[in-house]
């Protein structure tokens, strides 16, 4: 997959506006009892929720269960959720909490399993196995995994969500509202600095 910076910026902008509007319509109709309209929200938000569950170090089967449980939990909370931003934030918060719960249970059951999970999460899942067609992607991920856990989690989510709602989502990470912008700036600057210093990576 390839992209050009200008196109990426423009399409990200357009996509984010479209997506917010689509999610708003889904949510409104689902709250009126038409649950099948959530199908579109599932397609839109699952890649993000998947990343959130995996960032907690869960293997694929457990991560799938956690994402599914979060959607099921959503049903009885639907009427309290008023905006697409709130929908995204609620699902991220719930996915993360469910992932902790599963991780804590695994830890209680078997320490050694959790240890291997955690080291896998740190290394970046599947990084070695998957043949990345673009060297630039590989270089980027290598530097990304050198960032702190907090930076990885925040940037991972920021990369997936619309610009207007990521402050809400970052709140779902339990960070003080005022620290989100500076933290994002610091993490992104750090990643950018490492990338620019790497001759194998060229700015797009």
């Amino acid at each position: 997959m390839s992209f050009v910076a200008g196109d990426a910026a423009m399409s990200a902008e357009t996509v984010s506006t479209d997506r917010a509007a689509r999610l708003a319509r889904c949510l409104e109709r689902a709250r009126e009892g038409e649950l099948s309209t959530l199908d579109e929200a599932v397609r839109e938000l699952n890649p993000l929720l998947w990343q959130v569950a995996r960032a907690q170090g869960l293997p694929t089967e457990e991560a799938s269960d956690v994402v599914q449980t979060a959607w099921l939990e959503l049903l009885r909370h639907l009427r309290t959720i008023r905006s697409p931003q709130a929908l995204t934030a609620w699902l991220v918060t719930t996915t993360r909490r469910e992932a902790w719960r599963v991780r804590a249970r695994s830890r209680a059951q078997a320490h050694e399993v959790v240890d291997s999970l955690e080291s896998r999460a740190d290394d970046g899942p599947g990084l070695d196995e998957l043949l990345l067609t673009e060297e630039r992607n590989r270089v980027l991920l290598r530097h990304f995994h050198r960032l702190s856990e907090q930076c990885r989690e925040l940037l991972g989510i920021v990369a997936e969500v619309d610009r207007p709602d990521y402050s809400v989502v970052a709140e779902a990470l339990g960070m003080p509202r005022g620290s989100i912008g500076p933290t994002r700036g610091r993490c992104l600057a750090k990643l950018r600095e490492m990338l620019l210093a790497d001759p194998q990576w060229s700015p797009p």
């Binding site: 799938s64 449980t69 700015p203």
Partner: protein, 163 residues
């Protein structure tokens, strides 16, 4: 409204974030069936539900012959624990034995979506010990609903599992 602390991103920042999104999705994509599993699980008529989380999913038995294997799955929520055991029957069918605690005579619904066909539902009544049986069911995505008792309350719902 733009937040004061929300410093603008330049083209390189935007491109890095976009590349990050693309690269992570390429390396660790959600499983292909995840959307279907979620859509099936939330296609419910009643939203007054309590979710029983998957606690354990184990395969026991010799494994030498398919008919000797038993899969045991446990779900749990504040109000109830549900256990099911699934055994293979001839001709690719399954028998599902289940029970829940605390026991009660409640209606138990099994939703099942086999590949390429619309989801179907079966209903049985649990006995006073909370036991129930579904005999001769097909394979596919399955979800259990333990409906509320006479005195009302929420329906307990499990996530979907692959049978």
């Amino acid at each position: 409204m733009t937040d004061a602390f929300d410093q603008p991103l330049d083209d390189v920042d935007v491109a890095i974030l976009e590349q990050l999104r693309v690269a992570r999705r390429a390396v660790d994509p959600p499983p292909a069936e995840l959307d279907d599993r979620v859509r099936f699980a939330i296609a419910l008529t009643d939203v007054e539900i309590e979710v029983a989380r998957l606690q354990e999913d184990v395969l026991v038995g010799s494994g030498a012959r398919a008919t000797e294997r038993t899969r045991t799955v446990t779900f749990d929520c504040d109000r109830m624990t549900i256990m099911i055991s699934v055994v293979d029957l001839p001709e690719g069918l399954l028998r599902l034995d289940g029970w829940f605690a605390p026991p009660d005579r409640r209606r138990v619904e099994l939703r099942l979506a086999s590949a390429g066909s619309a989801p179907v539902s079966w209903d049985v009544m649990a006995d006073e010990d909370g036991r129930f049986v579904f005999q001769g069911i097909g394979r596919g995505l399955a979800q259990l609903l333990v409906h509320h008792a006479q005195d009302g309350g929420a329906t307990v719902v499990t996530p979907s599992i692959v049978l």
